[in-house]
């Protein structure tokens, strides 16, 4: 969290020029194209973007859970506490998943097995990573449920996922993700399926657990509000590439990429005059099979020039703030808040 200084400035997780491809009927598609970022202990990195921008594929690549046999990591490194996960043997990877890296998925109903009790699923995590003792695993499960704020944890252990509400299920998923005290948690749209008041509870819980355990969190979401309120750093992705990256205040107060600016301008806010026409980003996200040469955003960009046929590289805008646009210097100032 931004107000608590990170215990170490050494990144726990570093993703370096990650390229992930999928073999499809339309040929090999590059879903993630040269994405780099890093997260330190106690900090939250937000990855934002619209459907198909590659944010979930990035998460699956880190976990090495890409759909097989189509998906593969073509190049790049993913370093967790110094070790490259890309080349790690699969048995080692089993220990990492759920052990060093915890996962929280969007839909808590599909992340949990409907035919097993909460207790069985939760103690399985301990049995895989920490202990052989079934009773001890069960007891640890109860402690975890208590930690994530589930009332009557002893009874809940015997219940099935369908007996819990959406918010409670997501708490169980968080308990499973944090069971083995991981150093990194990857949360893919953790609150998208939840109501706003429940979302507030879950975000609060994640922040509190982060403070207690010094977790590094990678939060993948499409909700700019959630990013602004919970993240320290942001990566804005568009069509498989990083459009802009930087500290959350920079991205929201001084967005430099036309895509980031367009997104921030187009969302209705409580302060937007009612029924006024909203600024829009024209057109739609191009299909991965049909990407323009050069800048991926050019077909929708109001500032497009001939130069945009060349692929823009990430240029430094300010400290830790970089933007992949040829024209960011010339763009008119905007007021997005």
């Amino acid at each position: 969290m931004s107000d608590s200084p990170s215990p170490s400035s050494v990144p726990v997780l570093e993703v370096d020029k990650l390229v992930t491809t999928f073999d499809t009927d339309e040929g090999t598609l590059t879903a993630v194209d040269g994405v780099s970022f890093s997260v330190s202990a106690g900090r939250t990195l937000g990855i934002v973007g619209e459907s198909g921008c590659g944010k979930s594929v990035t998460a699956l690549s880190i976990m090495r859970l890409l759909p097989q046999p189509m998906g593969r990591i073509a190049s790049g490194q993913i370093r967790l506490e110094g070790r490259d996960l890309v080349t790690l043997p699969i048995e080692e990877m089993h220990k990492i998943r759920g052990g060093r890296i915890g996962m929280i998925f969007q839909e808590p109903m599909t992340a949990l097995n409907p035919v097993h009790t909460i207790g069985r699923q939760l103690s399985e995590v301990f049995l895989l990573h920490i202990t052989q003792d079934v009773k001890e695993a069960w007891a640890k499960g109860i402690v975890m449920l208590e930690k994530v704020g589930i009332p009557a944890p002893v009874e809940r252990m015997h219940e099935y996922p369908h007996q819990l509400s959406g918010g409670m299920r997501q708490r169980v998923v968080i308990a499973m993700a944090l069971a083995c005290e991981p150093s990194v948690v990857i949360a893919d749209e953790p609150t998208t399926a939840l109501d706003v008041t429940i979302q507030a509870q879950i975000l609060e819980l994640m922040q509190q657990l982060q403070r207690d355990l010094g977790l590094a969190i990678v939060l993948i979401t499409h909700d700019l509000g959630v990013v602004a309120e919970t993240c320290d750093d942001v990566v804005v992705m568009y069509a498989g590439r990083v459009a802009e990256t930087g500290p959350v205040e920079q991205i929201f107060n001084h967005p430099s990429h036309p895509y980031t600016r367009g997104l921030l301008e187009s969302i209705p806010r409580l302060t937007t005059p009612r029924k006024a026409e909203l600024p829009v980003i024209k057109g739609m996200v191009p299909s991965l099979a049909d990407l323009p040469d050069g800048c991926r955003f050019q077909n929708r960009c109001p500032h497009r020039t001939d130069k945009c046929a060349e692929m823009p590289l990430l240029e430094q805008v300010a400290d830790d703030h970089a933007c992949a646009c040829h024209h960011w210097r010339e763009l008119p100032a905007i007021n997005v808040s």
């Binding site: 979302q199 997104l263 806010r269 409580l270 009612r274 029924k275 026409e277 996200v285």
Partner: protein, 335 residues
């Protein structure tokens, strides 16, 4: 498009009135499948939609907002209450009697994938309303469909294509084209932009606003995203467990919310403004089940201000103390 039939209701006058509308679904239990309890999805809602305005309906999942929308177009047969559309009560009408009125009252659904028939071309889908209501001949229908596509910003060649060939935003435009095909007066929009990406959402919201200005449509806009609802609405009703707990002009409900639930709901919306919220009101617990709602005020188990009175007495919707007219709230206290 069909020639507009003029509405007998002038702008600003009530076009749709719900009076004490209830939708109680029977819950069956036991070997004999007896009706043991009722799920009170909508429990005594009274609301008015004026011609040309947008009434936003906000609430969390399970609060009954979608059921309410379905009752109005009679996709659900309400248990009791009145649905008065332009002076006619729709609730007791038979299918045949309802048909001529249905063209004035259309619905836009949340999921543009499920609400379009995957086996019909867009042309077939959009022609269907004209066939059902026996309007025009083949030639004029074709012209109407072309005009509709143009109106919602889709290419003319969409006529011969199938839903899967379109993106989510385009499909929602198709859903909207179908809803406005017969020049309706009221659109019930059930979460029409929730499934769309951020950059597409604003395009579709703009289209909703344009169509309202041009066609004088009245919208009942059902959604859970308060920022979106506030943007399109003139007045907003907040629902909780099948009841309306607060109703006020859109700007006022945000500036001076009176019901503790509305306050918590507004404070929970994440704002795209960096800096963590410290004054956020975090409500404990979940929404109770509408099968077994709490006694007294339905919000009392989660309310920070609850007293004994709240546990026993059901508050009625009354004019909010010291507020402008048109601001009603159902809370025993003046918070």
């Amino acid at each position: 498009m069909d020639t507009p039939s003029s509405s007998p209701v002038s702008p600003g006058e009530p076009i749709l009135e719900l009076r004490d509308l209830c939708m109680h679904f029977p819950v069956h239990e036991g070997v004999f499948n007896r009706t043991a309890k009722y799920c009170k999805a909508v429990d005594g809602v009274t609301l008015t939609l004026n011609a040309g305005e947008t009434l936003g309906l906000v609430g969390e999942s399970g609060c009954g907002k979608s059921t309410l929308g379905k009752c109005i177009v009679r996709l659900n047969q309400p248990t009791s209450g009145e649905i008065i559309f332009e002076g006619t009560d729709l609730a007791p009408l038979k299918r045949k009697q309802l048909k001529p009125l249905r063209r004035h009252l259309q619905m836009v659904f949340q999921d543009p994938v499920e609400s379009l028939n995957a086996r019909h071309t867009i042309g077939e889908t959009l022609t269907e309303p004209f066939i059902i209501h026996g309007i025009g001949d083949t030639e004029s229908r074709r012209a109407s469909v072309a005009a509709l596509l143009d109106r919602v910003g889709l290419p003319a060649n969409a006529v011969d294509r199938y839903p899967f060939e379109f993106s989510g935003g385009q499909r929602q435009r198709i859903g909207l084209a179908r809803a406005i095909a017969l020049n309706p007066r009221v659109l019930i929009c059930d979460e029409p932009v929730s499934a769309l990406d951020v950059s597409i959402q604003s395009q579709v919201l703009n289209l909703f606003l344009e169509l309202q200005r041009e066609m004088g449509l009245s919208y009942l806009f059902i959604a859970h995203n308060l920022a979106v609802v506030k943007h399109v609405s003139d007045r907003i009703a907040i629902m909780y467990l099948g009841r309306v707990v607060e109703l006020a002009p859109a700007d006022e409900i945000y500036q001076t919310p009176r019901h503790p639930y509305t306050r918590a709901l507004i404070s929970a919306i994440p704002q795209p403004k960096p800096g963590r919220k410290s004054q956020r009101i975090i409500m404990e617990g979940d929404v109770p089940s509408p099968i077994d709602p709490p006694s007294g005020c339905p919000f009392h188990p989660r309310c920070p201000h609850a007293t004994d009175k709240c546990r026993t007495e059901v508050p009625s919707l009354r004019k909010a103390p010291h507020a402008a007219t048109g601001h009603t709230v159902s809370c025993h206290y003046d918070l």
